[in-house]
Amino acid sequence: MAPLEPWEKVLVSAEKFPETVHGHIACTDCHGGVQSAEKDIAHQALVARPSEGNPNACSKCHTDIAMVYPGSLHATLQGYWTVLETRSVPADHPTLEKMFSNHCYRCHASCGDCHVAQPSSVGGGLFEGHLFARTPPMTRSCTACHGSRVGNEYLGKNEGFPGDVHFREGRMNCVNCHADEEMHGQPSNCMQCHKSPETVSLPAANHRYAGLQSPTCESCHPDTILGKDNIEMHTVHGADLSCQVCHSITYTSCDGCHVAISDKSGSPYFETQNTYSTFLIGLNPQRSYTRPYKYIPVRHIPTSPDAFEFYGKNLLPNFNLLPNWAYATPHNIQLKTPQAETCNSCHGNPDLFLTIDKVNTDEVEANQSVIVPLIPAPILETLEGTTSP
Protein backbone atom coordinates (compact mmCIF):
# COMPACT_ATOMS: atom_id res chain seq x y z
CA MET A 1 0.00 0.00 0.00
CA ALA A 2 1.62 3.24 -1.19
CA PRO A 3 1.87 5.94 1.48
CA LEU A 4 -0.41 8.94 1.00
CA GLU A 5 0.88 12.38 0.09
CA PRO A 6 0.75 14.82 3.02
CA TRP A 7 -2.16 16.75 1.48
CA GLU A 8 -4.06 13.54 0.77
CA LYS A 9 -3.89 12.58 4.40
CA VAL A 10 -5.94 15.60 5.47
CA LEU A 11 -8.11 16.27 2.41
CA VAL A 12 -11.82 16.57 3.25
CA SER A 13 -14.53 16.08 0.63
CA ALA A 14 -16.45 19.36 0.41
CA GLU A 15 -19.22 17.65 -1.58
CA LYS A 16 -19.76 14.45 0.37
CA PHE A 17 -18.65 15.02 3.95
CA PRO A 18 -21.11 17.82 4.84
CA GLU A 19 -23.96 15.54 3.72
CA THR A 20 -23.03 12.82 6.20
CA VAL A 21 -24.14 12.57 9.83
CA HIS A 22 -20.70 13.55 11.06
CA GLY A 23 -20.65 16.39 8.58
CA HIS A 24 -23.37 18.11 10.59
CA ILE A 25 -21.08 18.42 13.57
CA ALA A 26 -18.86 21.47 13.73
CA CYS A 27 -15.24 20.57 13.00
CA THR A 28 -14.14 22.26 16.20
CA ASP A 29 -16.51 20.17 18.31
CA CYS A 30 -14.27 17.15 17.74
CA HIS A 31 -10.97 18.66 16.69
CA GLY A 32 -10.74 21.74 18.86
CA GLY A 33 -8.85 24.61 17.26
CA VAL A 34 -10.61 27.79 16.17
CA GLN A 35 -12.37 29.00 13.04
CA SER A 36 -9.82 31.06 11.17
CA ALA A 37 -8.49 31.36 7.65
CA GLU A 38 -4.99 31.53 9.11
CA LYS A 39 -3.58 28.05 9.59
CA ASP A 40 -1.52 28.89 12.65
CA ILE A 41 -4.50 30.43 14.40
CA ALA A 42 -6.92 27.74 13.26
CA HIS A 43 -4.65 25.01 14.57
CA GLN A 44 -4.23 26.44 18.05
CA ALA A 45 -5.15 23.69 20.52
CA LEU A 46 -5.96 21.40 17.59
CA VAL A 47 -6.80 17.79 18.44
CA ALA A 48 -5.61 15.84 15.42
CA ARG A 49 -6.77 12.45 16.78
CA PRO A 50 -9.99 13.16 18.66
CA SER A 51 -10.78 9.48 19.20
CA GLU A 52 -7.78 9.01 21.48
CA GLY A 53 -8.35 8.68 25.19
CA ASN A 54 -11.37 7.90 27.28
CA PRO A 55 -13.70 9.71 27.13
CA ASN A 56 -13.08 11.05 23.66
CA ALA A 57 -14.98 12.82 20.88
CA CYS A 58 -16.67 9.59 19.76
CA SER A 59 -17.89 8.58 23.20
CA LYS A 60 -20.22 11.57 23.38
CA CYS A 61 -22.59 9.87 20.93
CA HIS A 62 -21.43 6.25 20.70
CA THR A 63 -21.85 5.61 24.40
CA ASP A 64 -22.46 1.85 24.13
CA ILE A 65 -19.22 1.21 22.28
CA ALA A 66 -17.32 3.70 24.40
CA MET A 67 -18.22 1.63 27.46
CA VAL A 68 -16.36 -1.45 26.25
CA TYR A 69 -13.75 -0.30 23.73
CA PRO A 70 -11.18 0.94 26.27
CA GLY A 71 -10.81 -2.71 27.33
CA SER A 72 -10.43 -4.14 23.86
CA LEU A 73 -7.14 -5.61 22.75
CA HIS A 74 -6.97 -3.09 19.90
CA ALA A 75 -6.95 -0.33 22.50
CA THR A 76 -4.93 -1.90 25.29
CA LEU A 77 -2.55 -4.24 23.43
CA GLN A 78 -2.88 -6.26 26.61
CA GLY A 79 -2.07 -9.48 24.77
CA TYR A 80 1.54 -8.38 24.49
CA TRP A 81 1.70 -7.52 28.17
CA THR A 82 0.18 -10.82 29.22
CA VAL A 83 3.07 -12.56 27.52
CA LEU A 84 5.74 -10.04 28.55
CA GLU A 85 4.70 -10.14 32.20
CA THR A 86 4.76 -13.93 32.23
CA ARG A 87 8.24 -14.08 30.76
CA SER A 88 9.78 -11.23 32.75
CA VAL A 89 10.07 -10.11 36.36
CA PRO A 90 8.47 -6.94 37.80
CA ALA A 91 11.84 -5.28 38.36
CA ASP A 92 12.34 -5.14 34.59
CA HIS A 93 8.90 -3.81 33.71
CA PRO A 94 9.97 -0.14 33.51
CA THR A 95 12.64 -1.10 30.97
CA LEU A 96 10.16 -3.21 29.04
CA GLU A 97 7.66 -0.36 29.07
CA LYS A 98 10.25 1.83 27.39
CA MET A 99 10.88 -0.87 24.80
CA PHE A 100 7.14 -1.30 24.32
CA SER A 101 6.60 2.39 23.83
CA ASN A 102 9.31 2.53 21.17
CA HIS A 103 8.47 -0.60 19.20
CA CYS A 104 5.02 -1.93 19.97
CA TYR A 105 2.71 0.92 20.84
CA ARG A 106 2.20 1.94 17.21
CA CYS A 107 -0.15 -1.03 16.93
CA HIS A 108 -2.61 0.62 19.31
CA ALA A 109 -5.79 1.59 17.45
CA SER A 110 -8.32 4.26 18.39
CA CYS A 111 -11.80 4.52 16.83
CA GLY A 112 -10.53 6.73 14.03
CA ASP A 113 -7.75 4.31 13.08
CA CYS A 114 -10.39 1.89 11.79
CA HIS A 115 -13.34 4.09 10.88
CA VAL A 116 -11.99 7.23 9.24
CA ALA A 117 -8.26 6.93 8.65
CA GLN A 118 -5.52 4.46 7.94
CA PRO A 119 -3.77 3.26 11.07
CA SER A 120 -0.82 5.33 12.18
CA SER A 121 1.42 2.27 11.90
CA VAL A 122 1.17 2.63 8.12
CA GLY A 123 1.51 6.40 8.05
CA GLY A 124 -2.10 7.42 8.72
CA GLY A 125 -4.22 9.59 6.43
CA LEU A 126 -7.96 9.90 5.88
CA PHE A 127 -9.67 7.11 3.89
CA GLU A 128 -12.03 9.03 1.60
CA GLY A 129 -12.24 12.71 2.31
CA HIS A 130 -13.07 12.20 5.99
CA LEU A 131 -16.08 9.99 5.23
CA PHE A 132 -16.60 7.63 8.15
CA ALA A 133 -16.72 3.94 7.29
CA ARG A 134 -18.99 1.78 9.42
CA THR A 135 -17.14 -1.23 8.00
CA PRO A 136 -13.42 -0.55 7.88
CA PRO A 137 -11.99 -1.13 4.40
CA MET A 138 -10.15 -4.45 4.64
CA THR A 139 -6.88 -3.70 2.92
CA ARG A 140 -6.56 -0.09 4.08
CA SER A 141 -7.44 -0.88 7.66
CA CYS A 142 -7.40 -4.51 8.85
CA THR A 143 -4.60 -5.98 6.76
CA ALA A 144 -2.67 -2.72 6.87
CA CYS A 145 -1.72 -3.92 10.36
CA HIS A 146 -2.44 -7.63 10.17
CA GLY A 147 -0.70 -8.05 6.85
CA SER A 148 2.43 -10.11 7.00
CA ARG A 149 0.75 -13.28 8.22
CA VAL A 150 -3.05 -13.05 8.31
CA GLY A 151 -3.38 -10.71 5.32
CA ASN A 152 -1.02 -12.64 3.07
CA GLU A 153 -2.62 -15.96 3.97
CA TYR A 154 -6.19 -14.74 3.58
CA LEU A 155 -5.64 -12.90 0.31
CA GLY A 156 -3.51 -15.67 -1.21
CA LYS A 157 -0.32 -13.63 -1.40
CA ASN A 158 1.94 -16.46 -0.28
CA GLU A 159 3.29 -17.83 -3.53
CA GLY A 160 2.10 -21.31 -4.30
CA PHE A 161 -0.71 -21.30 -1.76
CA PRO A 162 -4.30 -20.30 -2.48
CA GLY A 163 -6.08 -17.67 -0.48
CA ASP A 164 -8.72 -18.51 2.08
CA VAL A 165 -11.86 -20.07 0.63
CA HIS A 166 -13.95 -17.46 2.41
CA PHE A 167 -12.18 -14.81 0.37
CA ARG A 168 -11.76 -16.70 -2.89
CA GLU A 169 -15.28 -18.03 -3.08
CA GLY A 170 -17.22 -15.83 -0.72
CA ARG A 171 -15.42 -12.49 -1.08
CA MET A 172 -15.85 -12.19 2.64
CA ASN A 173 -14.39 -9.23 4.45
CA CYS A 174 -12.68 -9.58 7.85
CA VAL A 175 -15.73 -8.22 9.65
CA ASN A 176 -17.97 -10.91 8.20
CA CYS A 177 -16.45 -13.18 10.84
CA HIS A 178 -14.90 -10.68 13.25
CA ALA A 179 -18.06 -8.73 13.98
CA ASP A 180 -18.11 -5.26 15.44
CA GLU A 181 -18.77 -6.47 18.97
CA GLU A 182 -15.57 -8.47 18.88
CA MET A 183 -13.60 -5.63 17.36
CA HIS A 184 -14.87 -3.38 20.12
CA GLY A 185 -13.78 -5.76 22.84
CA GLN A 186 -16.56 -8.21 23.58
CA PRO A 187 -17.32 -11.70 22.24
CA SER A 188 -19.57 -11.29 19.23
CA ASN A 189 -21.18 -14.69 19.84
CA CYS A 190 -22.63 -13.30 23.05
CA MET A 191 -23.20 -9.69 22.15
CA GLN A 192 -25.18 -10.32 18.99
CA CYS A 193 -28.05 -11.60 21.15
CA HIS A 194 -27.35 -10.31 24.65
CA LYS A 195 -27.29 -6.59 24.18
CA SER A 196 -28.36 -5.80 27.71
CA PRO A 197 -26.12 -3.67 29.92
CA GLU A 198 -24.98 -6.60 32.07
CA THR A 199 -23.37 -8.20 29.05
CA VAL A 200 -20.79 -5.47 28.85
CA SER A 201 -19.59 -6.36 32.31
CA LEU A 202 -17.72 -9.33 30.87
CA PRO A 203 -14.10 -8.84 31.81
CA ALA A 204 -11.87 -7.52 29.07
CA ALA A 205 -9.72 -10.13 27.37
CA ASN A 206 -6.03 -10.16 28.21
CA HIS A 207 -5.00 -12.16 25.15
CA ARG A 208 -6.45 -12.96 21.76
CA TYR A 209 -7.08 -16.57 22.78
CA ALA A 210 -8.41 -15.73 26.24
CA GLY A 211 -11.99 -16.34 27.23
CA LEU A 212 -14.69 -17.36 24.82
CA GLN A 213 -13.73 -18.41 21.35
CA SER A 214 -15.17 -15.73 19.14
CA PRO A 215 -15.70 -15.99 16.28
CA THR A 216 -16.15 -19.72 15.85
CA CYS A 217 -16.44 -21.63 12.61
CA GLU A 218 -19.50 -23.38 14.02
CA SER A 219 -21.39 -20.09 14.14
CA CYS A 220 -21.81 -20.35 10.38
CA HIS A 221 -21.29 -24.11 10.06
CA PRO A 222 -23.43 -25.54 12.88
CA ASP A 223 -24.00 -28.84 11.10
CA THR A 224 -20.38 -29.74 11.62
CA ILE A 225 -20.89 -30.16 15.35
CA LEU A 226 -24.45 -31.41 15.25
CA GLY A 227 -23.60 -34.44 13.17
CA LYS A 228 -25.96 -33.39 10.41
CA ASP A 229 -23.47 -33.01 7.61
CA ASN A 230 -22.77 -36.75 7.15
CA ILE A 231 -19.02 -36.17 7.35
CA GLU A 232 -17.65 -38.82 9.63
CA MET A 233 -14.42 -36.92 10.24
CA HIS A 234 -16.43 -34.22 11.99
CA THR A 235 -18.14 -36.77 14.22
CA VAL A 236 -14.95 -38.60 15.06
CA HIS A 237 -12.62 -35.63 15.47
CA GLY A 238 -14.91 -32.70 16.20
CA ALA A 239 -13.85 -32.25 19.81
CA ASP A 240 -10.21 -33.24 19.42
CA LEU A 241 -9.05 -31.12 16.52
CA SER A 242 -9.45 -27.43 15.96
CA CYS A 243 -11.02 -26.80 12.56
CA GLN A 244 -7.72 -25.44 11.25
CA VAL A 245 -5.93 -28.75 11.84
CA CYS A 246 -7.79 -30.24 8.89
CA HIS A 247 -8.76 -27.13 6.95
CA SER A 248 -5.74 -24.83 6.92
CA ILE A 249 -2.67 -25.14 4.76
CA THR A 250 0.94 -24.02 4.98
CA TYR A 251 1.43 -20.72 6.76
CA THR A 252 4.25 -18.43 7.85
CA SER A 253 6.52 -18.85 10.83
CA CYS A 254 9.33 -16.53 11.94
CA ASP A 255 12.48 -16.75 14.05
CA GLY A 256 14.66 -14.46 16.07
CA CYS A 257 13.15 -11.00 16.13
CA HIS A 258 15.32 -8.37 17.81
CA VAL A 259 14.55 -4.72 18.35
CA ALA A 260 16.85 -1.73 18.71
CA ILE A 261 17.21 2.01 18.18
CA SER A 262 19.28 3.04 15.19
CA ASP A 263 22.56 4.82 15.88
CA LYS A 264 22.24 6.60 12.54
CA SER A 265 18.66 7.85 12.56
CA GLY A 266 17.58 7.41 16.16
CA SER A 267 14.53 5.51 14.92
CA PRO A 268 13.35 2.19 16.31
CA TYR A 269 13.75 -0.84 14.10
CA PHE A 270 13.46 -4.61 14.21
CA GLU A 271 15.24 -7.47 12.55
CA THR A 272 13.72 -10.88 11.98
CA GLN A 273 16.27 -13.58 11.27
CA ASN A 274 14.18 -16.13 9.37
CA THR A 275 10.76 -16.37 7.82
CA TYR A 276 9.63 -19.70 6.47
CA SER A 277 6.58 -21.79 5.66
CA THR A 278 5.31 -24.43 8.04
CA PHE A 279 2.33 -26.59 8.75
CA LEU A 280 2.73 -28.37 12.04
CA ILE A 281 0.22 -29.80 14.46
CA GLY A 282 0.99 -29.45 18.15
CA LEU A 283 -0.77 -30.05 21.43
CA ASN A 284 -3.16 -27.41 22.69
CA PRO A 285 -1.41 -25.89 25.73
CA GLN A 286 -4.54 -24.20 27.08
CA ARG A 287 -7.49 -26.54 26.62
CA SER A 288 -10.67 -24.87 27.80
CA TYR A 289 -14.43 -25.17 27.59
CA THR A 290 -14.58 -23.28 24.31
CA ARG A 291 -11.21 -24.51 23.00
CA PRO A 292 -11.30 -28.15 24.05
CA TYR A 293 -9.15 -29.41 21.20
CA LYS A 294 -6.27 -31.73 21.88
CA TYR A 295 -4.50 -30.77 18.65
CA ILE A 296 -4.05 -27.36 17.06
CA PRO A 297 -1.78 -25.89 14.38
CA VAL A 298 1.25 -24.19 15.91
CA ARG A 299 3.23 -21.31 14.47
CA HIS A 300 6.78 -20.39 15.44
CA ILE A 301 6.56 -16.83 16.69
CA PRO A 302 9.62 -14.62 16.34
CA THR A 303 10.25 -13.84 19.98
CA SER A 304 13.44 -15.10 21.56
CA PRO A 305 15.05 -14.90 25.02
CA ASP A 306 17.33 -12.07 23.89
CA ALA A 307 14.79 -10.22 21.72
CA PHE A 308 15.10 -7.04 23.81
CA GLU A 309 18.80 -7.24 24.62
CA PHE A 310 19.32 -3.73 23.27
CA TYR A 311 17.50 -2.49 26.37
CA GLY A 312 19.20 -4.73 28.91
CA LYS A 313 20.50 -8.16 29.69
CA ASN A 314 18.20 -11.05 30.48
CA LEU A 315 14.94 -9.13 30.34
CA LEU A 316 12.96 -12.32 29.75
CA PRO A 317 14.33 -14.64 32.48
CA ASN A 318 11.11 -16.67 32.48
CA PHE A 319 11.05 -17.10 28.73
CA ASN A 320 10.45 -20.83 29.04
CA LEU A 321 7.14 -20.42 30.85
CA LEU A 322 5.39 -20.04 27.49
CA PRO A 323 5.91 -21.87 24.20
CA ASN A 324 7.21 -20.02 21.16
CA TRP A 325 5.53 -22.56 18.95
CA ALA A 326 2.23 -20.82 19.60
CA TYR A 327 -1.43 -21.66 19.18
CA ALA A 328 -2.31 -20.55 15.65
CA THR A 329 -5.44 -19.98 13.65
CA PRO A 330 -4.15 -19.66 10.09
CA HIS A 331 -6.37 -17.65 7.81
CA ASN A 332 -6.05 -19.82 4.73
CA ILE A 333 -8.97 -22.20 5.18
CA GLN A 334 -9.64 -24.71 2.38
CA LEU A 335 -12.38 -27.27 1.93
CA LYS A 336 -9.86 -29.93 0.91
CA THR A 337 -6.33 -30.12 2.26
CA PRO A 338 -3.51 -32.63 1.87
CA GLN A 339 -3.60 -33.66 5.52
CA ALA A 340 -7.33 -34.44 5.42
CA GLU A 341 -7.30 -36.40 2.19
CA THR A 342 -7.33 -39.79 3.90
CA CYS A 343 -6.98 -40.96 7.49
CA ASN A 344 -3.37 -41.91 6.94
CA SER A 345 -2.51 -38.59 5.36
CA CYS A 346 -2.36 -37.51 8.96
CA HIS A 347 -2.28 -40.63 11.12
CA GLY A 348 1.25 -41.97 11.27
CA ASN A 349 2.63 -39.02 9.28
CA PRO A 350 5.53 -37.60 11.31
CA ASP A 351 6.00 -34.65 8.94
CA LEU A 352 2.79 -33.05 10.15
CA PHE A 353 3.45 -33.06 13.87
CA LEU A 354 5.61 -30.87 16.07
CA THR A 355 7.77 -33.61 17.48
CA ILE A 356 10.83 -32.93 19.60
CA ASP A 357 13.22 -33.40 16.68
CA LYS A 358 11.71 -30.33 14.98
CA VAL A 359 12.30 -28.04 17.95
CA ASN A 360 15.59 -26.20 18.49
CA THR A 361 17.44 -27.72 21.40
CA ASP A 362 17.39 -24.49 23.40
CA GLU A 363 13.64 -24.15 22.90
CA VAL A 364 12.59 -27.62 24.03
CA GLU A 365 11.87 -26.59 27.59
CA ALA A 366 9.66 -23.68 26.51
CA ASN A 367 7.68 -25.90 24.18
CA GLN A 368 7.07 -28.95 26.36
CA SER A 369 3.35 -28.17 26.46
CA VAL A 370 2.96 -28.22 22.68
CA ILE A 371 5.43 -30.89 21.56
CA VAL A 372 3.63 -34.06 20.44
CA PRO A 373 5.32 -36.94 22.25
CA LEU A 374 3.77 -39.69 20.20
CA ILE A 375 2.05 -39.17 16.88
CA PRO A 376 -1.29 -40.87 16.23
CA ALA A 377 -0.79 -44.38 14.92
CA PRO A 378 -1.70 -45.24 11.34
CA ILE A 379 -5.16 -46.56 10.70
CA LEU A 380 -5.35 -50.08 9.34
CA GLU A 381 -6.25 -50.03 5.66
CA THR A 382 -9.37 -52.10 6.11
CA LEU A 383 -10.56 -49.83 8.87
CA GLU A 384 -9.62 -46.73 6.89
CA GLY A 385 -11.87 -47.90 4.07
CA THR A 386 -14.79 -47.80 6.42
CA THR A 387 -14.03 -44.47 7.97
CA SER A 388 -13.01 -42.34 5.01
CA PRO A 389 -15.63 -39.89 3.83
Binding site: W7, V10, S13, C27, T28, A37, H130, F270, E271
Partner: protein, 93 residues
Protein backbone atom coordinates in the same frame (compact mmCIF):
# COMPACT_ATOMS: atom_id res chain seq x y z
CA UNK B 1 -61.54 80.47 42.81
CA UNK B 2 -58.16 79.62 44.26
CA UNK B 3 -59.42 76.19 45.17
CA UNK B 4 -60.75 75.71 41.66
CA UNK B 5 -57.31 76.64 40.20
CA UNK B 6 -55.63 74.01 42.41
CA UNK B 7 -58.16 71.40 41.38
CA UNK B 8 -57.54 72.14 37.68
CA UNK B 9 -53.75 71.90 38.16
CA UNK B 10 -54.06 68.60 40.01
CA UNK B 11 -56.44 67.23 37.40
CA UNK B 12 -54.09 68.20 34.55
CA UNK B 13 -51.13 66.63 36.37
CA UNK B 14 -53.01 63.39 36.87
CA UNK B 15 -54.07 63.31 33.23
CA UNK B 16 -50.47 63.98 32.16
CA UNK B 17 -49.07 61.20 34.35
CA UNK B 18 -51.68 58.67 33.23
CA UNK B 19 -51.01 59.51 29.59
CA UNK B 20 -47.24 59.08 29.96
CA UNK B 21 -47.69 55.81 31.82
CA UNK B 22 -49.82 54.38 29.02
CA UNK B 23 -47.18 55.12 26.34
CA UNK B 24 -44.42 53.60 28.38
CA UNK B 25 -46.43 50.42 28.99
CA UNK B 26 -47.34 50.01 25.33
CA UNK B 27 -43.71 50.64 24.35
CA UNK B 28 -42.56 47.95 26.72
CA UNK B 29 -45.16 45.50 25.49
CA UNK B 30 -44.27 46.18 21.87
CA UNK B 31 -40.56 45.74 22.49
CA UNK B 32 -41.15 42.58 24.48
CA UNK B 33 -43.25 41.00 21.75
CA UNK B 34 -40.62 41.77 19.14
CA UNK B 35 -37.75 40.40 21.10
CA UNK B 36 -39.59 37.25 22.15
CA UNK B 37 -41.37 36.30 19.01
CA UNK B 38 -39.04 37.22 16.18
CA UNK B 39 -35.47 36.49 15.35
CA UNK B 40 -33.26 39.52 15.51
CA UNK B 41 -32.76 39.59 11.78
CA UNK B 42 -36.52 39.87 11.15
CA UNK B 43 -37.35 42.43 13.84
CA UNK B 44 -37.71 45.19 11.25
CA UNK B 45 -40.79 43.45 9.82
CA UNK B 46 -42.75 44.28 12.93
CA UNK B 47 -42.18 47.94 12.22
CA UNK B 48 -43.12 47.67 8.56
CA UNK B 49 -45.19 44.54 7.86
CA UNK B 50 -45.46 45.30 4.15
CA UNK B 51 -41.67 45.32 3.60
CA UNK B 52 -40.16 42.46 1.51
CA UNK B 53 -38.73 39.71 3.77
CA UNK B 54 -34.96 39.80 3.97
CA UNK B 55 -32.83 36.74 3.02
CA UNK B 56 -31.84 34.67 6.07
CA UNK B 57 -28.38 35.52 7.29
CA UNK B 58 -25.71 33.48 5.45
CA UNK B 59 -24.12 30.79 7.62
CA UNK B 60 -20.72 31.62 8.96
CA UNK B 61 -17.99 30.39 6.64
CA UNK B 62 -16.46 27.06 7.65
CA UNK B 63 -12.81 27.98 7.49
CA UNK B 64 -11.75 24.44 8.39
CA UNK B 65 -13.58 22.95 5.42
CA UNK B 66 -12.60 25.78 3.10
CA UNK B 67 -8.97 24.93 3.60
CA UNK B 68 -9.14 21.16 4.02
CA UNK B 69 -11.20 20.72 0.86
CA UNK B 70 -8.73 22.75 -1.20
CA UNK B 71 -5.92 20.56 -2.45
CA UNK B 72 -3.79 23.48 -3.66
CA UNK B 73 -4.13 25.33 -0.40
CA UNK B 74 -3.20 22.23 1.56
CA UNK B 75 -0.10 21.78 -0.55
CA UNK B 76 0.75 25.47 -0.19
CA UNK B 77 0.41 25.55 3.57
CA UNK B 78 1.83 22.12 4.35
CA UNK B 79 4.88 21.95 6.52
CA UNK B 80 8.01 21.18 4.54
CA UNK B 81 8.39 17.42 4.35
CA UNK B 82 11.46 16.32 6.20
CA UNK B 83 13.27 13.50 4.46
CA UNK B 84 12.43 10.30 6.28
CA UNK B 85 15.30 7.95 6.79
CA UNK B 86 14.67 4.61 5.17
CA UNK B 87 13.53 2.04 7.67
CA UNK B 88 16.34 -0.10 8.94
CA UNK B 89 13.98 -2.92 9.84
CA UNK B 90 14.75 -6.24 8.20
CA UNK B 91 12.51 -9.20 7.71
CA UNK B 92 8.83 -9.73 8.29
CA UNK B 93 7.31 -7.63 11.03
Amino acid sequence: MRILSWLIIILMSVLLLVGCQGRAYSDLRENASVSLSLPVGLAANSVNPTAVAEEPAAPAPNECLNCHADKDRLIETAKPVEPVAESESKGVG
